[in-house]
């Protein structure tokens, strides 16, 4: 596959190129792919590997001529969840980073628009982290609120 040849590593996985990179290599690699036909940045996704203590960020890119999907994967430490922002390469990355910051709490250095995105007034832990106990949270937040007393057909 073209992306694997370009970057000199990676493997084919279900018809896509899966390329494991370190955090320092990612900027160069995205640039290189962008210059060589991978001009569609599809999305940035994040996986929380709780037992390995890692977050995996996956940069998905698409090449229209070759019809090739490349996934650039980076592991970052769960306790030191900082990553360099890539939004200068593709402007849409800014929005993805904003979402991941909200849902996983990862800080992207260089992205100064990490403001609340989908959630409103959210002072709690980022909800998509695996150690966010959503059942307990539901109990505390929603189930603790009482029903309104009285008969439902009752008027004033």
């Amino acid at each position: 596959m073209k992306s694997i040849e370009l970057l000199g590593k990676g493997e084919e996985m279900h018809g896509r190129a899966y390329i494991k990179l370190s955090a320092d290599e990612i900027e160069e690699s995205i640039k290189k792919l962008k210059e060589n036909g991978f001009n569609h940045f599809v999305m940035l996704s994040c996986v929380d590997w709780l037992d390995k203590g890692k977050f995996e960020l996956v940069y998905h890119m698409w090449n229209y001529e070759e019809k090739e999907h490349a996934m650039l994967s980076v592991d970052i430490d769960r306790n030191n969840d900082v990553m360099k922002s890539m939004s200068h390469l593709f402007p849409q990355i800014e929005t993805y980073e904003r979402e991941i910051h909200e849902m996983y709490g990862i800080k992207f250095e260089g992205n100064n628009r990490l403001t609340p995105f989908l959630l409103e007034n959210w002072p709690h832990d980022p909800p998509m982290r695996k150690d966010f106990d959503s059942k307990k949270f539901v109990k505390q937040m929603y189930e603790s609120i009482p029903f309104i007393e009285g008969d439902e057909n009752e008027g004033i």
Binding site: P127, Y142, I145, I148, G150, E152
Partner: protein, 197 residues
């Protein structure tokens, strides 16, 4: 004009009975399209099920509407808007809630972001069970609501006035839910543990 109080009361009763009889045949609805139920509304409105034969019509603004349809799950963020819409409507006003999500959370029972029981925040006159109810169910609910209005049993809006403080308190609690002290401590412990590793 020389009428006794009792007479006035009786007149009021009679007139409101008449008003209810008339208004139940012209329900204007504002459908708050959240969740999956919005997609069930077009067949109900258009020629297949044709809700207008019962005098039900969609209305563009809440101020002129009688019925508020909540068509599925609500996030806390949407609930805030729903309450704004509900409070803009003029009495008498009715609420129909669709699907199991509004009844007890449905398939989002453990979601961090959707409310579980709609009736804790605004009064609901009628629930339609199902995930999602079919158009027949919706038409059926409207007919049921008409019956309730006729019998003077659809009085959610009166409940909202009567227990206003309690509804407001519940709304405030869900909007400004804060992490409790013990939870904060737990978080601290977790962090320390992580750092030790």
């Amino acid at each position: 004009m020389g009428l006794h109080n009792g007479d006035k009361m009786m007149r009021y009763e009679e007139w409101s009975k008449l008003a209810r009889k008339a208004s139940k045949r012209s329900l204007w609805m504002v459908h708050f399209c959240t969740g999956c139920g919005a997609i069930e509304m077009p067949p109900v409105m258009t020629s297949r099920y044709d809700m207008e034969r019962f005098g039900i019509a969609p209305m563009a603004t809440p101020r002129q509407a009688d019925v508020l349809l909540i068509t599925g799950y609500l996030t806390v963020k949407t609930l805030r808007r729903v309450i704004q819409v509900y409070e803009q409507m003029q009495s008498p006003k009715y609420v129909i809630a669709f699907g199991s999500c509004t009844i007890n959370g449905g398939m989002y029972w453990d979601s961090y972001n959707t409310i579980k029981h709609l009736e804790k925040y605004i009064p609901v006159d009628l629930y339609i069970a199902g995930c999602m109810p079919r158009p027949e169910g919706i038409i059926n609910a409207f007919l049921e609501l008409m019956k309730l209005i006729d019998e003077g049993k659809a009085r959610g809006w009166e409940r909202y006035q009567k227990y206003y403080d309690k509804y407001k308190e519940n709304q405030r609690r869900v909007f400004n839910f804060e992490v409790k002290e013990e939870e904060k401590e737990e978080k601290e412990q977790k962090r320390e543990k992580n750092e030790e590793h």
